[in-house]
């Protein structure tokens, strides 16, 4: 069963965002539900450090044995760090999607992020899909 940590925010594209309320820099990853749907992740491409991304843009890729999916930017801003560990060992996305499997960090620009979901709202969304 998928878990939905309460302290994260979520997107309809199955990313999670940590730290949005406390800091201007947030951490982004894909949800446990997404990882379960994908199966064993074999390749992760993150955006480049220093690149400017806009909410909704495809900024990376996650490949599993059977499929490939885009990673969408959940917020707008500048990419300040990427998780080289998950690039080197993509299975971290499956084993620890909310921890070691994080993907990149963004310094959020001052625009208001749109359409983020609470854990409860995201759980409801995924229960409708599966």
């Amino acid at each position: 069963m998928s878990t939905y940590p309460e302290d994260l925010q979520y997107t309809k594209e199955h990313e999670w965002i940590a730290g949005l309320d406390e800091s201007t820099t947030v951490t982004v990853g894909i949800t446990e539900y997404a990882a379960e749907q994908l199966g064993d992740v074999v390749f992760v491409q993150t955006p480049e450090v220093g690149s400017t991304i806009s909410a909704g843009d495809a900024v990376g890729e996650v490949e599993s044995t059977k499929s490939v999916s885009d990673i969408y930017a959940p917020v707008s801003g500048e990419v300040v760090e990427v998780n080289q560990a998950v690039v080197d060992d993509p299975s971290l996305v499956n084993s620890d999607p909310y921890g070691e499997g994080w993907m990149f960090k963004v310094r959020v620009s001052d625009e208001e992020p749109a359409d983020l979901l609470t854990a409860e709202e995201y759980a409801a969304l995924t229960s409708g899909e599966s």
């Binding site: 379960e36 199966g39 064993d40 074999v42 390749f43 890729e61 490949e63 044995t65 059977k66 490939v68 499956n94």
Partner: protein, 363 residues
Amino acid sequence: MSRPTPLREVHESLGATLTDFAGWLMPLRYGSESAEHNAVRQAAGLFDLSHMGEIHVTGPGAAAALDFALVGHLSALAPGRARYTMICAEDGGVLDDLIVYRLAPETFMVVANASNYPMVARELTERAAGYEAAVEDRSETYALIAVQGPRSAEILARVTDADLAGLKYYAGLPGAVAGSDALIARTGYTGEDGFELFVAAADAVPLWRALSEAGEPYGLRPAGLSARDTLRLEAGMPLYGNELTREITPFEAGLGRVVRFDKPGDFVGRAALEARAKEEPRRRLTGLAALGRRVPRHGYPVVLRDGGEVVGEVTSGAPSQTLGRPIAMAYVDAAATGALAVDIRGNHEPVEIVDLPFYRRSS
């Protein structure tokens, strides 16, 4: 709605991710598909293949009817043996690839792919008209469970008294397995030693449970279609709809050996296939291994690394557990020269040509 197999509830209780495949609700994976793949290479895997079609062809003219209907020489097949073959159209295009078991001198069982077997049954019925042979689609009555992997013979021996040591590759014998009547066939689609057990649909659940229990100490684990696909790809085995289609003859697929021109009499597709056998194929099924980590997938263009000209198309691709990098099969123009790449969503990722199969078991 997809049709469930007799094992649906077992798959659900094991937490399988179910997927639609050719109109059937099938287990895609139970947990990690990589772990399932590796279990089959190193120990054993248990597969539900009840979506496959089983068509019986019986009667004094059954052998002659199959010689006419298929590209293989089935009248030469000894009872108790099996043969990989194909059914082709008049123009030589592949309609399906098949395994034919000769169960008795006048009884054959044709095993066809899930997506094709109603069509194969119709074609066989038409082609057998005029022969003393009856064609009966018995797919509904069968479940098919496979045990594949290096430990499969030891596992199966725990639940049957049948002479497994005497059962050769591509042979089948009737026997009781865990109390159920079965056709025990030493065939598979994984590149490993293994067995396929054809049983009555009602016996599927107890047989699965008995095999699971017997296999537990050997590292047997249930394996889904995802692992089945990566296993057969590593073994260089074609999948109908990917490497084999209506537009391809067995020669392009590198499987011209299954077309038996030396058999007596005419067969459907003979004239077209004889013409095709004389010319060099314009494109060939080719093994590719990626130099990077991105996966070439079905339908992606194969291009020249220098210049980017499209010279082929990927038919199947996946990350290979055994080779540690992505592999693919592709049709590539025979005239293409120079290093190759695959256009992976706009990026030309370099690949190298490698011999098929990618994996061959030792022993």
